[in-house]
Symmetry: none
Subunit: 197 residues, 4 copies
DNA sequence: GATGAATGAGTCTTCATTCAT
DNA sequence: CATGAATGAAGACTCATTCAT
């Protein structure tokens, strides 16, 4: 969409749409959620939606991009200032878990996106960035641990652990974040280093 | 569906539909795949689909159930005859990875299913069974490792590792199964026990 | 349908189909009842249906024709032997009511048939015959009553009374036939003659 | 349907749909008439139909309700101001006949509706109201006539006369309303009172 | 005679999207 | 900016009918 010049009220509307849509998508799924439902939920007409977004698809992509961006910022902030590679990895995992906890709807959206060709590339790109980000820390950590393994595989293993635990325990609220984060960190670090954290 | 009495030809058709549908669903996604596409792919009329299944939804659920059942059999077979808890866990992870490799379409279907309320319960049930299956081996393995942790969290961590690696490396065929399976096993076992395998 | 040569068993099957179909049509309506439902109800395959009837439509027409024929026989039998025109009319009305009571499903089928162009002509033909049958009796009765009215209108008025009462009270079984028949007869005869019966 | 807020144009469209549909339903029957035919007849897209009605069924029910409501108003207006019970009954019958003449399509729709379980209850409710409305007049008329009969039966007899005559003579336009109305009134009143009107 | 299987046109309905006001 | 109205392609599903065995 040709970036429209939005007033403050406009930016607010846009944000509302994104929030409501994320919620609906997460609850019922992307396809089962109609544009009508989204605008009804917000109590506005359908024109509003198409004023801010070119299509339902574009909106979803935007949500995805925002989510990935947000998570990345968060991890970078958490890692900044830490020196020990293992500490950095731990901080990254923990930051991801906290992000997931505070953005629960987005967790399943990302998972869904990976399964549909239309959105899969966005996910692949995001993951590629995440992996690149992580590589330096991980390589350092692996060196420290004396292991000789493929760091990409390790990073993906950690992604798998983190998001599956988030999906399983946080979405239902059956366990506190800290507990889940602790478990994830420990599993990842030992998995990585061969030594219990 | 009230179990219809099927002839041999009928059972064959049913299987074809399941296979073709799995393929289509995996390639384009559940929603974007229409019943019309499925039957066209098979070169039969639309009525055929509804002769064998009550609905597109029922078919999908059936695929899901079949997948879970099949994977479980495979893991049980792989574990049978092993005594050491860690060996058992390793065999389970490896069997899952091999199953994923040989049933690639199903991997993303399962992932998708978890994101849509309509199918999520089927996934939850399947995972609950898998977790229950794994618990005894894991508890024994954890005892051996001297750790005191929540085995359910560990099992889910392992699920996360295994399927995310499968999704990432097997679907695209970018790495051989053995390599991915080795990495998964090693990550899980160290993550579990605190000692490199 | 080219009248097929049926064995005894064949004629029996045919009758069963007609009965089951009448029942289903009456309960759920002609359109909402599928051929599949009819044959399932009878526990036979779909081929059976098309062995005996060319189409669903033909079957329905056949039911209609049978109903009209049957009712006519019954009325003729009831009137035979009576001399007084009013007695004859009364007997005709009463016979119709009894037929309706014993062939409840057919009552609403006839009513439905009148509303659909496809079947309306069959109904029109049947009613024309009924009216022709009745005319002589009615004319005599009207003469006796000293009235000068259009006998066709009177006959249709009586048809209206009889079948609406049948539909209202007999189908639900809320009143005994005799009571309803008495009311119909009295209403018709006084309506006709101007004197209470 | 959650009552949508309609503009004037909207209300007009809605009315057009009801009119066209009544026409089509009456001509070809409810089931044989497809939503596609209705909207084509009106020269609008299919979405228009579902903007105003939740379903074909809902539309039909609405037509039915409107018809019953309209007829009732008409009868009440016709009766208002009359004192003699027999006059009141006569006015009610005559009003019904005139309504039928001016709403010919609706006559067969009502008749059809009574034969399909889905709509039968709406008909039953409407008839119950009509019967209740009529009871007081009829009881008074019956008292005056010195008869001791069940007024409900009488009312249904009159309903039967009126609508069957309407269906038979008005739909085809083979007789003028007045003539048919006269016959109906006379038949009903004598049927009721035992004395020629 | 009878069955399971197959056909495919046609049904109702949904929904992303557009547009006049 | 916003709304109610409109579009129409597409989707899931049905069902009368036919056919091979």
């Amino acid at each position: 969409m040709t970036a429209r010049q939005l007033t403050d009220r406009g930016r607010e509307r846009r944000r509302q749409l994104i929030d409501v849509a994320s919620q609906c998508f997460a609850e019922r799924g992307y396809h089962p959620t109609s544009v009508t439902e989204i605008v009804n939920e917000l109590g506005v007409g359908k024109g509003v939606f198409y004023w801010y977004f070119d299509s339902k698809e574009e909106l979803f992509l935007e949500i995805l991009k925002g989510a990935q961006h947000d998570l990345r910022r968060r991890q970078q902030a958490a890692i900044a200032g830490l020196d020990d590679p293992l500490d950095q990895v731990a901080a990254g995992v923990r930051a991801a878990m906290e992000w997931a906890d505070q953005n629960r709807p987005l967790v399943s959206l990302v998972q869904f996106a990976a399964t549909e060709e239309l959105f899969a590339s966005a996910i692949r790109i995001g993951q590629a960035i995440a992996v690149a980000d992580a590589r330096s820390y991980i390589d350092a950590a692996l060196d420290a641990g004396g292991e000789t393994v493929d760091s990409d595989l390790m990073i993906h293993a950690m992604l798998g652990v983190t998001f599956h635990l988030a999906q399983t325990y946080l979405l239902e609220g059956s366990r506190p974040v800290d507990e889940v984060a602790d478990a994830a960190v420990r599993f990842c670090l030992t998995g990585l280093s061969g030594r219990p954290s």
